[in-house]
């Protein structure tokens, strides 16, 4: 299988604060990686470095054989190959659902309006939002907004999808509907890097689970070995915080 994402000894610092220390990570096509770790360990920062939202101090991020985040230059056009969904949805409040989704494909990718609209409706059907195309984000529930945000990222046809704690801001009863969508994407073979605190979901969706702590990758493995037989003391202690 070919590599979609390759991170090479990535270093990220904020002034004197070292946030990511020499991260290496390779993600193959169709692979679903879940990253877990304590708050502040650098999970969001890692995702943000992958799609060029943050500058990096050393190393490089390569997607589909193109360098997206080099140390020196600004992010490049190949960033389109990376889709991202944020914890706070960040839909555009002045656009309705359909416009939110079709805006970038039409304006950025210069695709035909009709074709984009058709695909948008097709995708919205799959997440159960086909009859909310005219609604504005303020008229939608958190779960609906997040499903729409996933569609907004998907319609760009990214090679890899980054999801940063996409259920963390949701009421418990809406978590399921969003995670089901992600689980389906995984089954369809989408390549994803997912940051989450939902351990049961991580177990269900991941091909590989990664434990980060203090800006480093401390342990990684298949969901079975990761959750049943953690090797490091730090991961053991981290997993214990999820059992009452």
């Amino acid at each position: 299988m070919s590599e979609v994402l390759k991170i090479d000894s990535l270093v990220k610092r904020y002034d004197d604060l070292s946030v990511l220390e020499k991260i290496d990570l390779t993600v193959k096509k169709g692979e679903v990686i879940v990253i877990v770790g304590p708050s502040g360990c650098g999970k969001s920062t890692l995702l943000r470095c992958i799609n060029g939202l943050e500058s990096i101090q050393d190393g490089k991020v390569v997607v589909d054989d193109e360098v997206v985040n080099p140390v020196q230059k600004k992010a490049s056009k190949s960033r389109e190959k990376i889709g991202m969904v944020f914890q706070s949805y960040d839909l555009f409040p002045h656009k309705n659902l359909l416009q939110n989704i079709t805006l970038a494909p039409i304006k950025v990718q210069k695709r035909k309006k009709e074709e984009v609209k058709e695909e948008a409706i097709e995708l919205l059907k799959r997440v159960g939002l086909e009859n909310r195309t005219d609604s504005y984000p303020r008229q939608l529930s958190g779960g609906q907004k997040q499903r729409a945000a996933i569609v907004r990222a998907l319609i760009m046809h990214p090679e890899i999808l980054l999801l940063d704690e996409i259920t963390a801001a949701l009421d418990p009863e809406m978590v399921r509907e969003v995670l089901d969508v992600v689980l389906n994407l995984a089954k369809e073979g989408h390549t994803m890097v997912i940051v989450t605190h939902e351990m049961a979901f991580a177990k269900a969706v991941a091909d590989r689970v990664i434990f980060m702590d203090g800006g480093k990758i401390v342990e990684e493995g298949s969901p079975e070995e990761f959750f049943e037989n953690p090797r490091t003391e730090r991961l053991k202690r981290f997993l214990e915080t999820f059992t009452y």
Binding site: G52, R79, S88, L91, F92, A104, K107, V108, R138, A153
Partner: protein, 219 residues
């Protein structure tokens, strides 16, 4: 109150009224013309220009319109530039308003959350697309209340035009009182004409504000 007096003065007042709103609205148009680009320069922190704009904003927001009008009306001729009282009034109001409008639009631009830019960036929008398609529309609707307040404020400020002998409502009222001493009638008419001038703006402003708020944040 003598209604014959009122009837007699009515044409004079109407004339002053139309002059006042003419100069007032020209000034307000100028204030948009200055304020919008000025706010962009501050938002984008364009070197040199944004500093000049900031100095301009502070200067005009912290001096009375009357003083500004005197400077333009009596100062410019000293430099060999003569302008009519009407031009001076519109220009002075425009410069004052430009400073206020610049601040109104700047704070609207800055109120758009950073996460909106990040979402747009993640969709690979260019800086231009981000500004045009995402930031500007949101900034415009969130600056509506401040802009409406500025428009009303500027229309009220027209009352100092009389100081440069512009035959506006205030000038007319003072003039008539000085000539014929019909103080009650003249002042009542003055108040009424200002209400006629401002009430529609106020009502319309409220509607626009509600619309803008609804389009952004729901009820």
């Amino acid at each position: 109150m003598d209604f014959n007096v009122i009837r007699e003065y009515l044409p004079i007042y109407w004339e002053a009224f139309f002059l006042t709103i003419k100069i007032g609205w020209i000034g307000i148009l100028i204030s948009f013309g200055i304020g919008i680009p000025a706010s962009f320069s501050m938002f984008f922190k364009i070197p040199v220009i944004s500093q000049i704009v900031k100095a301009y904003v502070e200067l005009f927001r912290n001096t009375p319109l009357l003083v500004q009008l005197f400077f333009i009306y009596f100062g410019l001729p000293k430099l060999g530039i003569t302008i009519s009282a009407q031009t001076c009034g519109a220009l002075g109001l425009g410069l004052l308003g430009g400073a206020y409008m610049a601040e109104a639009f700047r704070s609207g631009l800055e109120a758009v959350p950073k996460t909106q830019s990040e979402a747009a960036f993640a969709l690979n929008m260019s800086k231009g697309q981000l500004f045009r398609l995402i930031i500007l529309p949101q900034a415009l609707s969130s600056s509506v209340p401040a802009v409406v307040a500025n428009v009303i404020f500027l229309l009220k400020e027209t009352s100092v035009f009389s100081a440069i002998s512009l035959m506006d409502l205030m000038f007319t009222a003072k003039d008539l009182i000085g000539l014929y001493y019909n103080t009650t009638e003249c002042l009542t008419m003055l108040v009424l004409f200002y209400v006629i001038m401002l009430l529609p703006v106020s009502v319309l402003g409220n509607i626009v504000e509600k619309k803008a708020r609804f389009s952004m944040f729901g009820e």
